[in-house]
């Protein structure tokens, strides 16, 4: 009784008591309390006083202001994070919050500016100080190499930013891709040759020359040439480049769910193929490969420097080869 009385009295008189009460309520309801809850607890409190107390707590950084569908929520802030932010002012806290919300995709400085409505100079200052405090880090995006996205210090950048398995430190690993390319092609080619040499009926031959993407993936993993773990999707992109090289063809068949390597009830089969024609006649002549063929004008009045009579490609073509 006396307790309550004292509390009640102190509630009425001192704002500090109001704040303490609110804090206790917050601790009781860790998910957050609404205005309504505070009002229920201290019905005699005037809205102004309540608002003052809440503002005080917010500015001290002890309360978090959130919004949900039914109104404003106040939540106890984490002690640890409050200690982190000690010494930072409101703007920094705001920027930090925005970056935190961006998750592991990171956010660009211009977007921070839009969200916080702060001028650019301020933003830059704040970002520098946050970086020095090791709270955020800048990650170079692989899409636009000049663009830097900011994210929290301890987060792993998302795949779309770093580029996934093919990029290491923002550099596209073309030799790695080439090696994988050749290995996959050799695997498929050897399979096709084995099928051809088996001299069985043609249907069986063709079917045995196919390899599912799963088989290729297993083969590459067993080879162990990759330092990074490659998923089946990665292998499929490599096999697609082989298709664009004209060395491999693909068919899709329906597979039962649950068979190894099937995705959405389908399986992709790959098979090495031979080219349809030999290099065409035009490219066996020097003029077919000449890079300046469009400048060969043939007026009979004067000799152009690249005129056919003096064409170096034609001359060297005959002088060099014997037959």
């Amino acid at each position: 009784m006396a307790d309550v009385k004292v509390k009640k009295e102190t509630n009425l008189s001192e704002p500090a008591e109001v704040e303490n009460r609110i804090k206790e309520l917050c601790q009781q309801f860790p998910h957050g309390i609404t205005d309504q809850v505070i009002q229920n607890d201290m019905p005699h409190l005037e809205p102004q006083q309540r608002a003052m107390a809440i503002n005080k707590l917010l500015s001290l950084g002890q309360l978090d202001l959130l919004r949900n569908s039914s109104g404003l929520l106040y939540r106890m802030k984490d002690i640890q994070s409050t200690s982190k932010m000690k010494g930072s002012d409101n703007q920094e806290k705001l920027v930090y919050q925005i970056i935190e919300d961006a998750g592991n995709k990171g956010i660009w400085s211009r977007d921070i500016r839009f969200k916080s409505n702060l001028p650019l100079t301020e933003i830059n200052k704040i970002l520098k100080s946050l970086e020095s405090k090791k709270l955020i880090k800048a990650v170079k995006s692989v899409a636009a190499s000049k663009k830097k996205v900011y994210m929290l210090y301890n987060l792993q950048p998302d795949r779309s930013v770093t580029g996934g398995a093919w990029y290491s430190d923002q550099d596209f690993e073309s030799e790695f891709v080439e090696v994988l390319n050749q290995q996959c092609f050799k695997f498929l080619q050897s399979k096709a040759e084995a099928a051809r040499d088996s001299k069985q009926s043609p249907m069986v031959q063709r079917n045995s020359s196919f390899a599912t993407s799963h088989e290729v993936w297993k083969y590459i993993c067993e080879l162990g040439i990759s330092k990074v773990d490659l998923s089946m999707d990665d292998i499929e992109t490599i096999l697609n480049t082989l298709i664009y090289d004209g060395k491999v063809e693909m068919t899709v068949i329906a597979a039962k769910e649950g068979t190894v390597g099937s995705v959405d009830g389908q399986m992709k089969l790959y098979r090495g193929v031979n080219p349809v024609i030999q290099p065409t006649g035009l490219v066996r002549t020097p003029c077919g490969l000449c890079p300046v063929t469009h400048t060969h004008t043939h007026t009979h009045t004067h000799t152009h420097t690249h005129c056919v009579r003096g064409c170096p490609c034609l001359t060297s073509c005959f002088l060099s080869s014997g037959v």
Binding site: T237, N240, Y244, L282
Partner: protein, 536 residues
């Protein structure tokens, strides 16, 4: 009639018929249909020469004449088209095909007809028999009947056809409109008697031309002309049916593509199918008439005895192949199958384009090119991702291809003012315009090769003449039985470096010649593809 085509036609006419004909022909190509007076006026050549040139052109089917524009009474107009002249480039291929199909006899028949333009059957047979006899051993000669049978075979398979009957006499009577057989273009006439071999009485053997009868031979040749024995086929002239040869080449291209892609047996099956539909399919058909699997099985060559179920498997594999050479048209008779001609041509043309890009720009640019052919429209970023090429290099290659006009850019604006930052730029490849452009490149290349060949031989003209004189001297000395010392003395008139020069000249010219033939193969593929898209 692009500039490249005109240039090439001019060079071909010059090489085969001479400069006067070249001038007349060039003028006709450039200006379309013209009558004699305008031709005279604009070329400035004397009327005799112009008349003779026109005769030569008409004889070879290059130029056709028809009544003038203003009606039956106006002077006849002459016109020519580039296509027919460009066929001259392909003569070696025709002759070679005839040789593979019908042996030496067929080869010589085709050669004679190509050289003379058109001839009657009897004169062809006689000439060919004489030539064959020349190359045979002493005491043997070629019988006319053998040559006639080869001739008939060529006509049966439509490689030779009759020349359309001339309606020149009718024009004077003003009944020109009544003769539909006067072709407006030197195209394929399909009048009823086109392939009917006339009943010709040709009995005899080829005459051998002996070297010591040179003088007599000339007289006897003149005599032969005078005592023209009638053989019952006067006025029926035969010419080579180019279209048929082209169909043959097309079939061969398809068969070799199937052999490359699949295996020998599949190509044999396709060859059988094409052979069965040789005469039933029109030249511009999209695909052959449907053939049942039973028929194919019966018509397979006996050397390939494959079992019926195996044949079915091969046919299924052919149908499933992504290149779509063969399609299934129904289930009756064990499955009805067609050969997709136009699609096969499109695939071959596409492979040609890809090979050109690969040889000119490298395999990574070829990857980008094939990627764009498959996916139609792609943004820059997507190209880099799909092709797995670093961004900088991909950009470089795309711009090179773009500057060579092999790849086009399509702009899709987001805002009406086409602001560059707010527009999508998509790269795309259009197969047909690119094929046309490459065809012009081919014409230019062939013209370059011919020019270079003429230049090389002109440079060494003096040397060539000297070597020819020496050969003639040697031959006459040998015939008159000279001693070996005299022969060596004559031979030494050509010094060693000169011999070397001659040898290298011969090599160069051979190389240029074979290069022309190779480019002609590409020309054929691209032309067939472009023609097939026009008609469909």
């Amino acid at each position: 009639m692009t500039a490249q085509e005109v240039r090439l036609c001019g060079l071909l006419l010059r090489e085969h018929f001479g400069e006067v004909v070249e001038k007349v022909g060039r003028h006709l190509i450039r200006s379309g249909a013209q009558n004699l007076r305008t031709l005279l006026h604009e070329t400035g050549i004397s009327i005799d020469l112009v008349k003779k040139s026109l005769c030569v052109l008409v004889q070879h089917g290059v130029c056709v004449f028809s009544s003038g524009r203003k009606g039956p009474g106006s002077p006849t107009e002459y016109r020519t088209s580039c296509d027919r002249i460009l066929r001259i480039l392909r003569y070696p291929r025709y002759i070679y095909t005839a040789k593979t199909l019908y042996g030496d006899t067929g080869e010589l028949i085709i050669e004679e007809l190509l050289q003379r333009g058109d001839m009657t059957m009897s004169s062809t047979v006689k000439t060919v028999a004489d030539r064959l006899t020349q190359n045979m051993e002493e005491g043997r000669s070629m019988d006319y009947s053998e040559v006639s049978s080869a001739f008939s075979k060529l006509v049966e398979t439509h490689f030779l056809q009759r020349c359309p009957p001339m309606a020149a006499a009718a024009t004077k009577n003003g009944a020109a409109s009544a003769t539909p057989a006067t072709p407006a273009t030197p195209g394929t006439p399909s009048f009823p008697d086109c392939y009917r071999v006339p009943h010709v009485t040709l009995i005899g053997k080829g005459k051998r031309r002996l070297s010591n009868e040179d003088g007599e031979d000339q007289r006897s040749a003149k005599r032969a002309k005078i005592d023209s024995e009638t053989h019952g086929d006067e006025g029926i002239y035969w010419q080579v049916n180019f279209e048929r040869f082209h169909l043959h080449f097309r079939d061969q291209a398809i068969i070799s593509a199937v052999a490359n892609k699949l295996d020998q047996t599949s190509s044999e099956i396709v060859r059988t199918m094409l052979r069965m539909s040789e005469v039933t399919t029109s030249p511009t058909a999209t695909c052959t008439k449907p053939l049942s699997a039973n028929e194919i099985f019966r018509s397979l060559p006996s050397s390939y005895n494959i079992a019926r179920p195996i044949l079915d498997q091969y046919l299924t594999l052919l149908v499933d192949d992504p290149m779509e050479f063969v399609g299934k048209a129904g289930e009756s008779g064990g499955g009805m199958y067609v050969v997709n001609l136009h699609r096969a041509l499109a695939n071959l043309a596409r492979a040609t384009l890809e090979s050109v890009v690969q040889e000119r720009f490298g395999s990574r640019s070829a990857r980008i090119f094939r990627l764009l052919l498959r996916k139609r429209h792609l943004e820059q970023k997507q190209v880099e991702d799909f092709a797995m090429i670093p961004a900088k290099e991909a950009k470089d290659m795309l711009y090179t291809l773009l500057s060579q006009n092999l790849v086009q850019l399509q702009e899709i604006p987001k805002t009406p003012d086409y602001a560059p930052s707010r527009t999508f730029y998509l790269y795309t490849v259009n197969q047909l315009p690119t094929a046309r452009m490459l065809l012009q490149n081919c014409y230019k290349t062939v013209a370059n090769l011919i020019e270079r060949r003429l230049f090389e031989s002109k440079e060494s003209k003096r040397l060539l003449e000297k070597s020819q004189r020496i050969e003639a001297i040697l031959a006459s000395l040998q015939a008159s039985g000279a001693e070996p010392e005299q022969l060596t003395e004559v031979e030494e008139m050509i010094t060693a470096p000169e011999k070397q020069q001659l040898e290298s000249l011969r090599l160069h010219i051979n190389k240029l010649d074979s290069a022309e033939n190779q480019v002609d193969e590409t020309i054929f593929l691209l032309e067939s593809y472009i023609n097939s898209t026009v008609t469909s």
